[in-house]
Symmetry: C2
DNA sequence: CTACATGCAAACCCTTTGCAAGCCG
DNA sequence: CGGCTTGCAAAGGGTTTGCATGTAG
């Protein structure tokens, strides 16, 4: 079962309607493959209204089906949430990013929260640099 | 020597002019004490033009004299760069944040970059949750 | 003096919203 | 059918820009 069906089922379960525009957005996201901007999605969905695309993205993000990655320049990318909690390696050259998980890193984060008497509810870790391809090309 | 003088000297060294508006912005930043929004700065500097405040902030950020902290809602705070590299605990209740450093955490980050054959140039770690005060009040 | 810096207002970008019409269940 | 959804266009906020004027060096 692909993302489109999965997400659609999930939406219906919670009480959201399965509509043509909604499914179109889901399909476009599944087809994207790589991280995409809202603009990318909009362009690939000329027949779906701007507002609907934004609303659907927001919905999916709230349901944690879509993962939002803030870039250093303030812009935002989205990509299918690979399920589990993870962090990102963001390439300054090509803009692509890779996910990784690191239990030890997460443990340090827990520990810092504890040390500061802080109730941890979430965290974000982004690494910026150059991937191998971009480093090679000096891009 | 305070931030204002330091930053001013640094700017002159690199070839930027020391102007009254520029110094006013520097003083306001130094006086802020806590993390501030651009709006805060603008309000505290009624006689300095909007554009100048933005331009100066950008300049200081590029020179790494000012540290930029993205919040979960997409808004941005700034604060004096405490020199050293650090991370943040951001309170969802009051919006304040605390800095911390963690060598072990940084080590994990280095290790992840190495493991992914990624040239690390920078990274951001933000923890979100509730500080003690806000947790108590259920704010 | 000359080039860089400023201030204003308008332009911009990205996202959200109001509202009438449409469609799912 | 009733109410959630949509699409449009307009509003919104946050930041940047063009240009004439001011001013540091």
């Amino acid at each position: 079962m692909g993302f489109t069906e999965l997400a659609n089922a999930r939406l219906e379960t919670i009480g959201f309607r399965s509509t043509a525009p909604r499914r179109a957005v889901l399909r476009a996201i599944e087809a994207a493959g790589a991280p995409f901007t809202v603009e990318d999605l909009l362009a690939s969905l000329p027949d779906v209204g701007r507002a609907t695309v934004f609303r659907t993205i927001k919905l999916l993000h709230e349901l944690e089906l879509l993962c939002r990655v803030p870039l250093e320049d303030g812009s935002v990318r989205y990509q299918l949430s690979q399920g589990e909690h993870h962090h990102h390696l963001v390439c300054r050259g090509c803009g692509r990013f890779t996910e990784f998980t690191d239990l030890e890193l997460d443990a340090r984060i827990q520990e810092q929260a504890r040390a500061h008497d802080f109730t941890l509810e979430g965290h974000a870790v982004e690494l910026y640099g150059l991937c191998r391809e971009c480093r090679g090309q000096g891009a």
